[in-house]
């Protein structure tokens, strides 16, 4: 993307205030963030699709990894399931195929499934999905590629505008788990939160933003 185009895009809110870019801007090792505007396919709860938008609204530049980029939202077809998965998988595959690491932000957990299939296509092998709350039974080596699953429904109710459960993790605990999860994180999905829709970002949006930042930093370094 040329300088003139970049200047035009500077006014668009982006994840963590990182530059906005396209597929052709990606370099190996870069962290590519994309919104996932779909919340009706897997564990559906209306409103989860707005998380990416809310996170962009409350993002401020300055704290993001220098190597990160906001690709916009992946194209979705939530009313046509097969077409939807095919499209999302191919888009994720295109991103991962550049050698960049990818974060899918918002929506329901269906994005995680698509990301897993795309990673398998690119690497030629199954890439284990590791939940920051549950972990996996195996203890992957530092070089083992993994996909990080960050389910924001695991946050305790006190962090939510509309809590659904009392117990759970604090954002700080979740961030500590993100840092400590073993393996080489090649992709991540952050999902499961239907944020309050305001223009300042309520507690859960700010918590999710801090978690997104931790995930982006983790992807930038790959292994812990």
């Amino acid at each position: 993307m040329g300088d003139l185009a970049q200047i035009q895009f500077d006014t668009i809110p982006s994840f963590l205030g990182v530059p906005v870019g396209d597929l052709e801007d990606l370099m190996p090792g870069q962290v590519a963030m994309a919104g996932y505007f779909c919340d009706n396919l897997d564990r559906p709860t209306a409103g989860q699709r707005y998380l990416a938008r809310q996170l962009r609204y409350v993002s401020r530049p300055g704290k993001a990894p220098t190597n990160a980029i906001d690709l916009g939202d992946v194209n979705v077809f939530p009313l046509e399931r097969d077409k939807h998965f095919s499209a999302v998988i191919s888009q994720c595959e295109a991103v991962l195929g550049t050698g960049a690491r990818m974060i899918l932000v918002g929506g329901d957990s269906s994005g995680l499934k698509a990301l897993g299939i795309a990673a398998r296509k690119v690497t030629g092998a199954d890439v284990p999905v590791v939940s920051v709350t549950g972990g996996i039974t195996d203890n992957p080596s530092k070089t083992q590629p993994i996909i990080l699953s960050v389910d924001l429904q695991e946050l305790a109710g006190i962090w939510m505008s509309q809590p659904r459960r009392l117990t759970g993790l604090s954002p700080a605990q979740m961030i500590a788990q993100i840092d400590a999860t073993p393996g080489n994180v090649v992709a991540a999905a952050i999902f499961g939160l239907a944020p309050a829709l305001d223009n300042r970002g309520s507690t859960e949006t700010r918590a999710a933003l801090a978690i997104l930042q931790a995930v982006a930093e983790r992807l930038e370094k790959g292994a812990p």
Binding site: G157, I158, S161, Q162, P163, R165, L166, T167
Partner: protein, 256 residues
């Protein structure tokens, strides 16, 4: 119409079918709303609690760990405390556990009147003289430092078990002399306002919602009746107070 809307129309509290007392079977629960209102003070709204609890439990898709019926709300015209006392007596006689959703504290008074010989486990910030005066010792959960002197003397003389919110938060959750059967009264004012604002009483330094759930859930006691009072849902736009009440009730029924 989505599933939540359908559920709201077809089912009562936590997905239980609406029904009559006669449809309850032995070993099940009968959920009854009693929307009485506090008669003084600035923090009113307890009458909204039964329906707010039904709505919240359905939105969350929570199921009770027990079968039963939702008996709807009690008609508060006339001598409703007398009617409530009689209904609770009948239910307990038929081995049905009444789960009474208040309402103000007068709801619990009517329930306790129906079961005068049973001990009470009372989660509330201030001990009450009428409860302390019952023949069986009461177990007090979450008392704060502002107890009336005469009630406190009564509790001390009869060596009743009690724990403050801080003691419970620090893990002192063992209660000596836990009865096998008791009535459980949860006044939502036992929770710290900073954690859940939907209570009719102010209780700074009160319990955390999750502590209340874990303490009640750990009590190996067969609850003969459960009553929840003091919930003012309109004062808590986040719904933490309803969530605390629902999770505490589920924890009690799961273990008791």
């Amino acid at each position: 119409m989505n599933n939540v809307q359908k559920r709201l129309m077809m089912a009562g509290y936590a997905g239980l079918p609406f029904g009559e007392f006669s449809q309850c079977v032995a070993g099940s629960v009968g959920v009854l709303g009693v929307p009485s209102e506090v008669d003084s003070g600035p923090r009113v709204g307890a009458s909204l609690a039964p329906d707010a609890l039904r709505r919240m439990s359905q939105q969350l898709g929570i199921d009770l760990p027990a079968n039963g019926r939702d008996l709807g709300n009690l008609d508060l015209s006339g001598d409703w405390p007398g009617v409530l006392t009689q209904l609770v007596t009948q239910m307990v006689d038929d081995d049905i556990v009444p789960v009474v959703l208040g309402g103000a504290s007068d709801v619990a008074s009517a329930v306790l009147q129906a079961l005068p010989d049973l001990p009470v486990v009372a989660a509330m910030p201030l001990a009450r003289g009428d409860v302390a005066a019952r023949p069986e010792n009461t177990i007090w959960v979450g008392l704060n430092g502002g107890q009336p002197a005469d009630v406190w003397d009564q509790i001390s003389q009869r060596t009743m078990a009690w724990r403050t919110a801080r003691q419970l938060d620090e893990g002192h959750t063992d209660f000596s002399g836990m009865p096998e059967c008791a009535v459980l009264w949860i006044d939502i004012s036992v929770i710290d306002l900073g954690h859940a604002a939907g209570a009719v009483g102010l209780n700074p330094g009160g319990m955390k919602p999750e502590t209340l759930v874990s303490v009640i859930g750990a009590m190996a006691c067969s609850w003969q009746a459960i009553v929840i009072t003091g919930l003012a849902p309109a004062r808590d736009t986040r719904g933490m107070s309803e969530l605390a009440a629902i999770e505490t009730l589920n924890a009690a029924l799961r273990n008791g």
